[in-house]
Amino acid sequence: MAPVATTPAVTIDLSTSSIRQINELLASPDAPQALTITNPRGAHALACGLDAELEVTIDGHVGYYCAGMNQHATVTVNGNAGVGVAENMMSGSVRITGDASQSAGATAHGGLLIIEGNAAARCGISMKGVDIVVGGDIGHMSAFMGQAGRLVVCGNAGEALGDSLYEARIYVRGKVASLGADCVEKSMRGEHLAELKELLDAAGVDADPTEFTRYGSARNLYNFHVDNASAY
């Protein structure tokens, strides 16, 4: 494989570079402040483990774990993303202009994940502080065991939303196919409308916060009680 060629516009063509070369460059102290990656062709583990205030734009579809464990960087995928986009993100932001596959933002601790299209099953599974804004629908078991953070869904949510939820907060504008164990509808108070507006603005989504419904944990399963045995 030839050495990574960077043009003055700092564009790297993945058809002539390897994932390792690109990730190594992005992790190095000499990483360009802004970088565009072309021809990703569904590559896995692209731009993962970033740990600096970089701006990375990927023109095309990406595979699994794009921007995984992101810290500080701003990553934009002009296309669709495979499984586990921005999984375990700590900070920074990731935007997917298309759709995202399963487990988008899984276990992420911080930062902002924006999916302009739809997200498949388990979006925000075990989320631990991340904010996720989805322009379209999300699949089943989303926010399963969500511990902290906010999940905003401008479309509809699939089955078992928020199952076994801890303290993550969920806002859905459309219909919810079903709620998971211990996930309940909650009232929208002023502070919720305010934080939702803030999230929508941050994501660049034009939507009216009053059209959303809030869901959260009933906290009935926090400590085992025999009367709740059927819910486990």
Partner: protein, 442 residues
């Protein structure tokens, strides 16, 4: 079954333990949760014997001829494999399940004898990292406390698919142990009963796991060895798949392996004994041409240097200890006999690790109890114990004419029982008979 009273006959099916459990279940409406590993009698290393050298084999002189003990782990794909002085490592146990003092002591002990220790569910504490020369970072389904900074600080990464005490089960840490610090590390409300998922949240099978391993390698620049840990069940297939997905090291944990908190029914009724798992794992590796290239670490019921030597003779590259390390730290020590009794147990029987009231200060988050364990003293005991295990294993290896522990081989072993001969795939003592030898294909 009889009592001391003539004429009273105890049921073998409904014995006193069974009756007690039925009564307990009826009273409480919840399954029994406890720590430790399987307590039932199982075919184990005690059922194997070494064939020391005699006329047909040449022994090494006990105190003058070398018997080396070092092991390299993870040199297949990782740029920086681990080089340990002894092949006995400390298994993954979490801060949360264990006190900070216990974790520090284990790290200190491992460092003193040149081996590794391992984090657990809940992440890495600075104390543990500071005290552990070689620290393996567990990557678990819950990802509690998981972050890329700690991933990069680790010396190796262990992807946990399961553990011997509960293959197929998730974790739990009851509210008593979710203190402010533990809760903060795991992003949980204080005092909740923490549940850990049994499946990873962002991959579902071996093809996905192969990609996950690439991601972990990319984030850590292909430096760290990647372990894959499985609870022993379908070990032949699991180990082959672990190799296929790109593991540098496979960890197989037999059903005697310990737990901090699991349902009794799970501990005693799921999985296979360590003895049965090792030959399956070795066969899987050998058929792929990967035995000794992808290293095999075995855990679950390792107690003595004899167990270490037998596991290695069966083909393991190293072993891991958990329960035994806790005992060396002071768990179940008679000095706390009165305290154990006050908890309804006895020294030698205590297994309520989930309750967080450990008199020895090990499986607790209670500051007053945890203070009872001095990390420096505890480390000295564990280091002593690790040295004894090593010397015992060397003694046996020399007797078999081996100048390195890894040179021990199945040919050095015989079995005392038909069951252990079939499981370990070594002949019944005094015979050439390996029961089921023709059917040992995976």
């Amino acid at each position: 079954m009889t009592t001391t009273t003539p004429g009273l006959r105890e049921s073998a099916t409904f014995d006193r333990d069974v009756i007690h459990e039925i009564q307990r279940a009826a009273e409480t409406g919840i399954y029994d949760i406890r720590g430790w590993g399987a307590k039932r009698r199982l075919p184990h290393f005690d059922d194997l014997l070494f064939l020391g050298a005699s006329m047909s084999r040449y022994p090494l002189e006990g105190y003058r001829e070398r018997c080396d003990t070092d092991v390299v782990l993870g040199d297949l794909h990782a740029k920086t494999p681990l080089h340990l002085d002894i092949p006995i490592t400390i298994a993954g146990m979490s801060f949360g399940a264990l006190s900070g003092q216990a974790k520090e002591a284990l790290g200190r002990a491992a460092s003193q004898v040149g081996t590794s220790t391992t984090t657990g569910d809940g992440g890495m504490t600075p104390e543990e990292r500071d005290q552990s020369k070689t620290l393996v970072y567990q990557y678990l389904p819950s990802r509690y406390g998981m972050n890329p900074d700690d991933l990069r600080k680790a010396d190796a990464i262990e992807i946990v698919l399961g553990q011997g005490a509960k293959p197929g089960g998730g974790g739990m840490l009851l509210g008593q142990k979710i203190t402010e610090r533990v809760a903060a590390m795991r992003t949980l409300p204080e005092g909740v009963d923490q549940r850990s998922a049994c499946r990873h949240p962002d991959w579902t099978g071996p093809d996905d796991l192969a990609i996950k391993i690439v991601e972990l390698r990319e984030i850590t620049h292909w430096e760290k060895p990647i372990y894959v840990k499985v609870g022993a069940t379908r070990t032949y297939y699991d180990v082959q798949l672990a190799v296929k997905v790109g593991a540098d090291v496979v960890v197989v944990d037999g059903m005697q392996g310990g737990t901090a908190a699991t349902q009794e029914v799970f501990i005693e009724h799921v999985g296979i004994p360590t003895l049965a798992a090792i030959p399956q794992a070795v066969q899987a590796l050998a058929e792929l041409g990967m035995h000794r290239k992808v290293q095999l670490i075995v855990s679950g019921g390792i107690r003595s240097g004899a167990d270490v030597a037998k596991a290695m003779a069966l083909g393991a590259d190293a072993v891991a200890i958990g329960t035994a390390a806790l005992i060396a730290l002071g768990d179940n020590h008679p000095r706390y006999a009165d305290s154990y009794r006050a908890l309804g147990s006895e020294a030698g029987f205590y297994d309520d690790f989930q309750a967080g009231r450990d008199p020895a200060g090990i499986t607790t988050q209670d500051p007053a109890l945890a203070k009872r364990l001095d990390p420096v003293d505890g480390a000295r005991r564990v280091a002593n114990y690790l040295r004894v295990l090593t010397m015992e294993a060397q003694t046996l290896a020399r007797a078999c004419g081996k100048s390195h522990l890894r040179n021990l081989e199945p040919e050095d072993l015989v079995a005392l029982t038909v069951e252990s001969a079939a499981m370990a795939r070594v002949p019944l003592a005094g015979t050439n008979w390996i029961p089921g030898a023709a059917s040992h294909a995976g």
